[in-house]
Symmetry: C2
Subunit: 233 residues, 2 copies
């Protein structure tokens, strides 16, 4: 996220940053809490959820290496609109929210980086809405698997980044529906063994389920980062 921000701004921005480690399932912050920090994922995955007044919890997003939890903030920046919890072990950098806001006004490069990150997040959520409104479970699963494949692979093996219960929640389908979708994709050469997935023909998966469109969710630098940390096979 900060690749284009100058060293001096970064130094000021991170002066009182905290590095924290969270264990699987540990709360990072709660929905409604006063927003003291802008958090950035340095390693692992973070689950963002909204809890309705009746107690129902909805998975909104899963953020990974290099992403800020920027969408967690309410538009006024006062409180967290969602809750955040570690999936597996996660490392985060927490920047002071007031300093972050102050620095945004001081550093055009930081402001640009935040605008770009926001554009990527908007784009991701638009893809999510399109998928929720218009796609079958197989199509959603195929799209998710394609986002894990290296850009020009003909065939590949990937490791699911988190368990199937969470993947179902992310795709907005029941667990049984996800199992049926995996079974259907087997017919076109997608095989799973626990968390390892082999895709015989990436182009076929794309053309049969997504009309040939491939829109990887992860920019390639981010994928490299995740791969180098062993989160993908």
């Amino acid at each position: 996220m900060f690749a284009t921000v100058d060293a001096q701004s970064m130094q000021r921005l991170t002066r009182d940053a905290k590095l924290e480690q969270f264990e699987d399932g540990q709360t990072i912050f709660r929905q409604g809490d006063h927003a003291l920090h802008v958090a950035i994922v340095l390693d692992g995955f973070v689950k963002l959820t909204r809890t309705a007044a009746c107690g129902d919890e909805t998975l909104i997003n899963i953020c990974n290496v290099g992403e800020s939890l920027y969408e967690a903030l309410t538009p006024d920046g006062e409180s967290y609109r969602v809750g955040a919890e570690a999936i597996g072990q996660a490392h985060l950098m927490k920047l002071s929210a007031p300093r972050f806001r102050f620095m945004l006004r001081e550093s055009p490069a930081l402001a640009s980086a935040v605008i770009e990150e926001a554009a990527r997040k908007l784009s991701g959520l638009i893809g999510e809405i399109e998928s929720l409104k218009g796609q079958t479970a197989e199509q959603r699963l195929a799209r998710f698997l394609l986002s894990l494949c290296p850009p020009n692979a003909e065939s590949c093996s990937v490791r699911l980044p988190y368990d199937k219960r969470l993947i179902a929640a992310r795709l907005g389908v029941k667990q049984e529906t996800l199992s049926r979708a995996f079974a259907k994709l087997r017919e076109i050469g997608v095989r799973t063994e626990t968390r390892d997935v082999s895709i015989e023909n990436v182009a076929r998966l794309s053309s049969e389920c997504c009309g040939g469109e491939r829109e990887p969710c992860l920019p390639s630098e981010r994928r490299d980062l995740i791969e180098s940390r062993g989160a993908l096979a």
Copy 2:
């Protein structure tokens, strides 16, 4: 959106801005077109849609007075990620996209305004995802109606801002499902006559359908603007 931007920046930003009027159903830009402009809605409503390779169209958002069509841009700003079409008559201001990007680096106030707008849009899309994943059709409709009510109204009459076919698409339900949802809400004092809706008890609608939560989609200044233009009753 530009309330906090200084006059000098505004003057430079709008130097080669174009004001354009579109008729109902007229295309503003197409998905995939080269992104030459950042458009802002001055009057009316604009429908943003994604079209999949197979031709299926999904309604992503409906933007109204004072909103930019910022989410239409791809993260790299090169092309439009969605298509835009006028609903009814719409007036738009089109700013040159390269100038806009240049000015973002020059004017911290403009950058802040864009970041705030992006945060509002993210927040809106998060609400949409929560609704699509976790709410019934009645709950979605109730939430939509509540977003049209004035902040502290006990009872009120509102005019639906666009037709029921579009409302169904926005809420991600079929038209028959929307009709059934309207019929169910009648039991708790919500009456409709074509596009006029009267809500006997706003608090009851909120508590029975949304667990008492009220989260208006429209900031109050924007609602005032829409009201003064007669789009709401």
